[in-house]
């Protein structure tokens, strides 16, 4: 990945003549990085997108707040993964239902996974497998996996993504690192490339999205073509550093100086540069392509995303979301469900296994919760084109890390994986769990929507954190 693969940070703008004028700094601060850091300071809300980064830093300093070290990695499998071909195989079902794959044993007695997931099978004690996920809106969108709520019937301002809520309520874990980062690239199917809307938390809490054209960091004086070469980018950053070190900044507001420091030397930039990773570690995450996967309308299936997420969590991001591959497998002529599974599942197995190992080896697994899911499940019956169609009735999810009680299966489906047979788990229960992991009590915490009406983050009267896991 790194800069040579992704058009990551767009540093655009006019000439360099007024680089270090006060006006330039205000511009720097008001774009890209300006959209975070208001959390818990009473400064959030829609319409604050233009508040400058120096202003945010000043306000955060005044709060004197220090936040807990909890974090979440959200992995969205764009399109709806086939639950019955991954974690809930039905080998006794008729051939038109059971599919082509065999289940294999795992390190957890009684838990079987697809034969294409041997890495996860060996790490099953670090996974919680939900086989009975319900409540899908049935919409081809990341929205529900990012917000926990449905697109329909949103409150004024819209439901905020988990990361936006974390930004607003908890703020940054580390200065210079946005609390909410989305690694989703721009996609033809824009609802899969959803960065996670800030909703009624306000634009100040929108995701920092280095790989999405629409939400990129901009700096004065560095042109987009320069970004095409990582070397050129780094050279220009080095040039900025030299200017900063020359004393040009002396006498300016210290917060501007700090903001400038973030933009030129932050751990964020380094975290996004995967070239800096130990090659042995990076090799574990090998696999995938930078090209859009499948039909070409989704993002790439690329394990560098997992590594980037770990690096961002490590330097202080609070919520990192990923859109991974294309899982909407209706069948020919775009390959059968099973051909696409043979393409995606081994990569997914390697990438998620590497992430779980990496988090554990770095001691991040106690604080960082990982959730993996898509917007719905897939039809039990294989269609005439060898595909499986949309099936909102039941889906699956994987959870790991965060000190959760893993090594277990929650819920079960009936004999054809059509509906939950026991312990249906609602999307909002998973979100209540994720909020719990971040230290947010969904039974108590409200945020005002744009009309000032307090809104609970999930319907806490029906859905709370999963007791099986916490």
């Amino acid at each position: 990945m790194a800069f040579e693969h992704f058009p990551a940070l767009r540093w655009g703008g006019a000439g360099t003549g007024d680089w270090f004028s006060r006006r330039s700094f205000l511009q720097v601060g008001s774009l890209g990085f300006g959209r975070w850091g208001l959390g818990g300071l009473g400064l959030g809300g829609a319409g604050l997108a233009e508040l400058s980064l120096p202003g945010l830093l000043r306000a955060e300093a005044k709060s004197g707040r220090r936040q807990a070290n909890k974090s979440v990695i959200q992995i969205f499998l764009s399109g709806g993964p086939p639950h019955q071909d991954m974690v809930d195989l039905k080998p006794e079902a008729p051939v038109e239902v059971r599919g082509e794959f065999r289940p294999i044993d795992t390190t957890v007695p009684g838990l079987q996974l697809c034969e294409l997931l041997p890495g996860l099978a060996r790490r099953a004690e670090h996974l919680a497998v939900i086989r009975s996920l319900v409540g899908s809106e049935g919409r081809h969108a990341a929205f529900q996996c990012l917000t926990g709520n449905t697109v329909a019937r949103q409150p004024p301002g819209g439901w905020p993504a988990l990361g936006a809520v974390a930004s607003k309520l908890l703020g940054a874990r580390q200065p210079g690192v946005p609390p909410f980062i989305s690694l989703a690239p721009r996609m033809k199917t824009s609802t899969w490339g959803d960065l996670g809307q800030p909703g009624f938390c306000g634009q100040a809490h929108a995701a920092f999205a280095p790989y999405a054209d629409a939400a990129q960091l901009q700096l004065q004086g560095i042109t987009r073509p320069a970004l095409q070469a990582r070397q050129a980018l780094l050279q220009q950053i080095d040039g900025l550093k030299e200017l900063a070190d020359s004393g040009v900044l002396a006498g300016t507001d210290s917060y501007y100086e700090q903001a400038f420091g973030i933009l030129t030397s932050s751990e964020l930039v380094e975290a996004l540069d995967l070239q800096r990773e130990d090659p042995r570690v990076r090799a574990r995450y090998a696999g995938g392509s930078t090209e859009p996967a499948g039909y070409g309308d989704a993002g790439p299936i690329l394990n560098d995303y997992f590594l980037a997420a770990r690096r961002l969590i490590e330097v202080g991001a609070r919520v990192v979301s990923i859109a991974y591959g294309r899982w909407d497998w209706h069948g020919r002529p775009h390959g059968t469900n099973f051909e696409n599974a043979r393409d995606h599942l081994p990569l997914f197995d390697g990438g998620l296994s590497a992430l779980l190992d990496d988090l554990k080896e770095r001691g991040l697994d106690r604080d960082c919760t990982v959730v993996v899911w898509g917007e719905f499940g897939r039809t039990p019956r294989i269609n005439k084109n060898g595909g499986r169609d949309h099936w909102p009735q039941v889906a699956c999810a994987l959870l790991a890390g965060g000190g959760l009680r893993t090594g277990q299966v929650i819920g079960a489906t009936n004999r054809h994986a059509e509906v939950p047979r026991e312990r249906p788990v609602h999307f909002q229960e998973v979100f209540a769990t994720l909020y719990h992991q971040l230290g947010i009590d969904v039974a108590e915490q409200t945020l005002d929507d744009l009309t000032g009406r307090p809104q609970y983050l999930v319907d806490h009267t029906h859905h709370g954190p999963l007791p099986e896991l916490i």
């Binding site: 082509e100 392509s289 090209e291 996967a293 499948g294 039909y295 070409g296 020919r332 002529p333 775009h334 390959g335 059968t336 099973f338 051909e339 043979r342 393409d343 081994p346 005439k384 084109n385």
Partner: protein
Amino acid sequence: MRLVRAHTLAHNNAVYGVAFAPDGKTLATASLDNQVKLWRLADGTLERVLKGHGDGVAGVGYLADGRLVSASLDKSLRVWRTDGTLQRTLPGHAEYLTCVAVEPEGGGIVSGGFDRQIRLWNADADAQVAAFAGGEATVQCVAWRGDARVFAGAGDDNSIRWFDATERAVLRTVPAHAAAVEALAFDRQRRLISGGADGRLKIWSAEGTAVTEVDALTARVKCLAVHPTGEVLAVGGSDGVVRVWKLGAGLSEPIAEPAHRNTLYGVAFSPDGTWLAAASFDRSISVWRWEMSAS
């Protein structure tokens, strides 16, 4: 007989088709990444990328004069000059195209797809020559016979249809397999060989009678190619294994090359019979030297 691996080539998405140029120097590959790639056979170097299709490319075939024909899920065929420039686009199919075959000696093109139609084209005309009902379901495969203006088509209705391109007539329709017919190829004896999603290989006489049937050793046959000498048949299927069968009165025990991690969508022998290529859903193409004498 044996295969000696020469090159492994790649696309950014599943590879659906392969075809060798008449001069034997170039290999064309078609991919779900919307591109056709032209490779120099001698060293596996990528020579050219043909862009322009708005969706995946389902198949490719070379005309005798060296022009290339591509068929796309964007519902169109394209005819490319030997210098790689686009000569013409042939719209007409109402749904995804799945297959294409070119007349071995001449300008005929036949295509099939999700609109259940088999359409006959001439590479030098902008409009289709004829359209035929291809069956009760999606057409999955078409093939030209080498010695006459006869072609065949088959698909999801499990039947095979023979057509006369000159008379623009259906010659016969035969229920053929217990599942979709996914691959067709004529041999030098005017026999038609079919492979199906039932995992069977069948050989049909010129009159449409089944003369041989064997277990293909793969769950689903997806592609076939007859060697120019007519002595062997290459078969690819859902297990990613290339199998080369001796083709005599029947089909005898094949040699097997487990080359790919996913379904094979295309196999082809070079016109001089010295190369074999296989295209896979795993985004790669294998190219081997084919040595018949080793037997």
